[in-house]
């Protein structure tokens, strides 16, 4: 659209202002995380006089950063891996099987996408207790698979429709059985939608708060978000320490964002348009 020079300037100003607001709290968290408590209260907006890492080393220890980070990674990898495997199998087969039964199962999955997590959290907590998966990160991963397959199946189901059937038929003639056909021919072809699903699920699982809050009961199994929450509750007056913890928790996602920006944005659009 062609715009006048004056309105173009106004638009730039508005964008710069919005960008400042977007960066403002992150910037404040970062600069203050390097200060001592005294230095901080003298002025929150001044730059730190030196790059003091004490807050970070202390937050690192208090968060049991290494084990929390390992837990977050484990849950994400197992959860996403499980969702991709289970949902691609089911979505492919449901898409290729005509008939009422497969249609019914598909709609059962799709309808459940509307159920808010808060409507199931109480019975889910009980179910986790009964199955003895509460308190373990492996149990948590299983729950993520159970909660995440519906959307993934929906996306795979739509994508498979665009994959020509001739490929399977010729693989069958060449002597592949169903599983070989799936793993050697079909699954590699699903890569674009697999990437989309993996990204959406990573952002969901990595940043999720309420489910791990309900499921993880002992400190050994805390994810990064849950340890940060505990730390915030216990030391909420020691801001310099808390801020270091917040920055540490945010760093992995921001790094991943920097590297995979293009895919993340494409994934969001695709997931939203199809979902």
């Amino acid at each position: 659209m062609r715009t006048g020079r004056f309105s173009s300037l106004l638009i730039t100003l508005a964008l710069v202002l919005a960008s400042l607001i977007a960066v403002f709290p992150i910037y404040l968290a970062i600069i203050n995380s390097f200060k001592t408590q005294g230095e901080m209260f003298a002025s929150f907006t001044a730059l730190p006089t030196s790059l003091r890492l004490d807050n970070y080393t202390e937050a690192f220890a208090r968060l049991s950063m290494m084990s929390s980070l390992a837990n977050s990674i484990t849950v994400s990898v197992l959860g996403i891996g499980g969702i991709l495997l289970c949902a691609s199998l089911a979505g492919y087969k449901l898409s290729r099987t005509p008939g009422r039964l497969s249609q019914f199962i598909f709609y059962l999955f799709v309808a459940s996408m509307m159920v808010p997590f808060h409507s199931i959290m109480i019975p889910l907590t009980r179910m986790a207790k009964e199955l003895n998966v509460q308190g373990s990160i492996y149990g948590l991963s299983l729950i993520y698979i159970g909660l995440g397959v519906n959307m993934a199946i929906f996306l795979y189901h739509g994508f498979v429709k665009g994959v020509p059937r001739e490929l399977e038929e010729s693989a069958h003639i060449d002597g592949c059985n169903e599983w070989q056909t799936y793993f050697r021919i079909i699954f590699p072809l699903l890569l674009p939608i697999t990437v989309t699903i993996a990204i959406l699920d990573f952002l969901w699982i990595w940043n999720d708060f309420l489910l791990p809050l309900l499921m993880l009961t002992n400190a050994d199994s805390y994810t990064l978000i849950i340890s940060t929450n505990k730390l915030f509750g216990e030391y909420n007056t020691e801001w310099s320490l808390v801020l270091a913890a917040l920055v540490l928790t945010a760093i992995p996602v921001v790094l991943i964002f920097m590297f995979f920006q293009r895919y993340i944005m494409a994934g969001i659009t695709e997931g939203a348009v199809k979902g």
């Binding site: 709290p25 199962i105 199931i120 019975p123 199955l131 698979i145 939203a272």
Partner: protein
């Protein structure tokens, strides 16, 4: 023939089973269970429970002022979010579209807050609201900055909004940007040649071409806003008192930190589910009617 269809069923079962088992255990059964429990007086202290009909629903809507307040408070929040989140996101997307060289930079910076977990965002903003703004207000003599952002029920509503928008606008902006890229440049140029002013191009060409994205973003905002939890939990915890308590927080408190009345809390969560369904249905039926094909 029968053998073939049996074989086909078996292969369907084999492929679908892993997903279906986990889905049933952790989503389907809890969904049905929640609805069932909402008609009982089950609580966490006693294993035995009885069927009590609609008593929980009547109690929640008639005798529980905290819950009714949380319903209205959430509704108010949803309405503000519905308008503000989409207006800001659409405006930013339109603005970014007019830029060439700085497009990528603005898009990255404005989208970044969305990457940070909502609860972490709420903690960062707690720092800003409780420490930084009061100090800035005092030093710079800007009185309006130096107020109880999180301690006053009226003001904290806006603090909750600010953080939600900060966190959420980027996501919607990306969807609008993608939709804007799909609007053929030739259509806009034709309108300009016909003498349309920028506002008229927006109103009669661009907006009608992206109604699909508007429908999606309204749907996503509506759904997300009714389920708001982390922002309020992190900023005010529902306080002072229960003045900023949203529905989800009320349910959470009822089930896990107050008196463990699981049956009663389930009834509240069924109410939340129904409210979301009704509003979504209304929204979709209104916006779908306005969509046009390119």
């Amino acid at each position: 023939m029968a053998a073939k269809s049996y074989k086909r069923l078996l292969s369907l079962a084999a492929f679908v089973m892993p997903a279906f088992i986990l889905y049933t255990l952790f989503l389907l059964v809890p969904t049905i269970g929640g609805m069932y429990y909402s008609f009982t007086d089950w609580n966490g202290l006693n294993r035995a429970y009885e069927f009590i009909g609609f008593a929980n629903f009547v109690e929640a809507l008639r005798e529980d002022p905290d819950f009714v307040h949380s319903l209205w408070f959430t509704l108010k929040y949803v309405m503000f979010m519905l308008v503000l989140q989409n207006v800001f996101a659409l405006l930013l997307a339109l603005f970014i579209e007019t830029k060439f060289r700085s497009k990528g930079l603005f898009r990255t910076v404005l989208f970044m807050p969305n990457m940070i977990s909502t609860i972490i965002s709420a903690f960062m903003w707690t720092f800003v609201f409780s420490q930084v703004l009061p100090q800035l207000g005092e030093r710079a003599g800007l009185g309006f900055l130096n107020q109880s952002w999180l301690g006053d029920p009226g003001t904290s509503f806006y603090s909750i909004l600010i953080v939600s928008l900060w966190n959420g606008v980027g996501y919607m902006m990306i969807i609008y940007l993608a939709a804007l890229q799909g609007v053929p440049q030739s259509l806009r140029e034709a309108a300009v040649i016909d003498g349309a002013r920028p506002w008229q191009v927006l109103r009669h060409v661009t907006l009608p071409m992206i109604t699909h994205a508007i429908t999606i973003c309204l749907f996503l905002t509506l759904n997300g806003a009714f389920k708001v939890f982390e922002v309020v939990y992190g900023l005010t915890g529902g306080g002072p008192g229960r003045s900023t308590q949203v529905i989800t927080l009320n349910i959470y408190e009822e089930a896990f930190s107050n008196n463990f009345r699981y049956g009663y809390a389930s009834a509240k969560s069924v109410i939340l589910f129904l409210v979301i369904l009704i509003f979504t249905f209304i929204q979709i039926s209104i916006t779908k009617r306005r969509e046009v094909e390119a």
